[in-house]
């Protein structure tokens, strides 16, 4: 599946949610969409799935516009947080029944298997489910739809750690059995980073990074040592954060960390450590104030 996002703008009154965002995604990959609250993540996902028409710009999937294009939207599944279902007064099995009617590739057996693993009873009323169980229902509805593009927007709320790992295992299993595109949005970056092939970061409605996860990690490093040495070393480099303890200082550097960089640091007696996906994301997007 090929997703082409062109110059998206979305305004809500005076507020700008997306500002000229362009992005293209190709191939059957698991992609992580990272961004702080209010960065425009959910708005972007809503537009990709045709839930919303943008103020301007367009989304093309396999070359066709998405909005109101049934041929394309049938191949998409966006699950928002705990999932959109029928009325809350209905039972879990009703939600599955509607999904079976509306989803062309629906796999009811898979849905029932997943709900069983998450210990959600088919006979439960949706309104009586705990937040975690509702998330589990959302996960089941999303995975069993077997859509070419499955988007899970914070579909983990209320799930405890064992249930989240079950979710990750089932997601990976689904991806391996039937390779297709997944977009995952989550604040639990540390937990999901290992199985993300690509990462997309948006901040204040604009694209900040898009690329391979390893490539992303290789661009961030913490340089630690004597404060004066560190200051001299980072001159001319992009520093995204600093920490100081007595005479020791750590500077977080963003950019190409090549062998020349490492050798130089070594001669200067400085330690260089990788930041990891989560810390790098935090330093890149932390509030800067006005």
């Amino acid at each position: 599946m090929n997703i082409e996002i062109r110059n998206l703008h979305q305004r809500f009154g005076d507020a700008v949610a997306l500002n000229d965002l362009s992005l293209s995604i190709e191939g059957a990959k698991i992609i992580g969409l990272l961004g702080r609250n209010g960065s425009g993540k959910s708005t972007l996902l809503n537009i990709i799935a045709g839930f919303r028409k943008p103020t301007s710009g367009e989304v093309l999937i396999d070359g066709e516009p998405v909005f109101e294009n049934g041929r394309i939207t049938e191949r998409l599944a966006l699950i928002r947080e705990v999932g959109d279902t029928v009325e809350d007064s209905e039972k879990v099995e009703e939600a599955l029944r509607y999904a079976a009617y509306l989803r062309p590739n629906w796999n009811g057996e898979r849905a029932r298997y997943l709900l069983d693993r998450f210990e959600v009873s088919l006979k439960s009323k949706i309104s009586s489910l705990s937040r975690g169980r509702r998330s589990a229902l959302g996960i089941a509805l999303g995975l069993a739809a077997q859509a070419d593009l499955t988007i899970l927007d914070e579909t983990y709320l209320g799930l405890d750690a064992p249930s989240r790992y079950l979710f990750y295992d089932e997601l990976l299993q689904d991806y391996m059995n039937q390779p297709r595109t997944f977009i995952l949005s989550s604040h639990l970056i540390e937990e999901i980073a290992r199985f993300l092939e690509d990462i997309v970061i948006i901040d204040h409605g604009t694209l900040m990074f898009h690329g391979n996860t390893e490539q992303f990690v290789s661009q961030g490093a913490a340089v630690t040592g004597n404060a004066a040495d560190v200051d001299r070393f980072v001159q001319g480099k992009k520093v995204i954060g600093e920490l100081q303890l007595g005479r020791t200082k750590s500077a977080m550097v963003y950019g190409e960390i090549n062998s020349g960089f490492l050798e130089q640091a070594n001669t200067d007696g400085l330690d260089v450590e990788s930041l990891g996906v989560q810390d790098l994301f935090v330093y890149l997007t932390q509030p800067k104030g006005e």
Binding site: L172, M176, E197, E214, D271
Partner: protein, 123 residues
């Protein structure tokens, strides 16, 4: 240093190298699939794929079309040789540096090493 926090694919490739060195993987034996590695470590299959590719490029594994990955004949000897080559520089140098910092004498080190090696060969 930066190498302490290697990318996951490097760590997995190293794990397979250790398995071959330690005899847990025999030469000409089939290696678990990328999907099995991905599920076990909860990583992206592409990462496991990259680890395998790394080992194929190094001549440690080879691919049988439609079947899977196998350990190359002679891989163990090859790895032993490579690891011997880097053993002093990568493993011993940090120990000696530490010894110098905390004031362990050369004589003590040599005595300790000879005693250990003697115990091992005596068993």
């Amino acid at each position: 240093m930066f190498d302490d926090q290697q990318p996951i694919y490097r760590q997995i490739a190293d794990q397979i190298r250790q398995d071959i060195l330690g005899g847990r993987l025999e030469e000409e034996e089939q290696v678990m699939s990328t999907n099995q590695y991905a599920a076990f470590y909860r990583i992206n299959p592409a990462t496991a794929q990259k680890a395998f590719q790394n080992l194929v490029d190094d001549g440690v594994l080879y691919k049988k079309r439609g079947i899977g990955m196998f350990v190359q004949a002679g891989a163990r000897a090859k790895l032993q040789e490579e690891h011997r080559a880097s053993f002093f520089g990568q493993r011993l140098d940090p120990v000696l540096a530490e010894a110098r910092v905390i004031g362990v004498s050369a004589a003590d080190l040599i005595a300790y090493i000879s005693r250990k090696l003697g115990e091992d060969s005596g068993q």
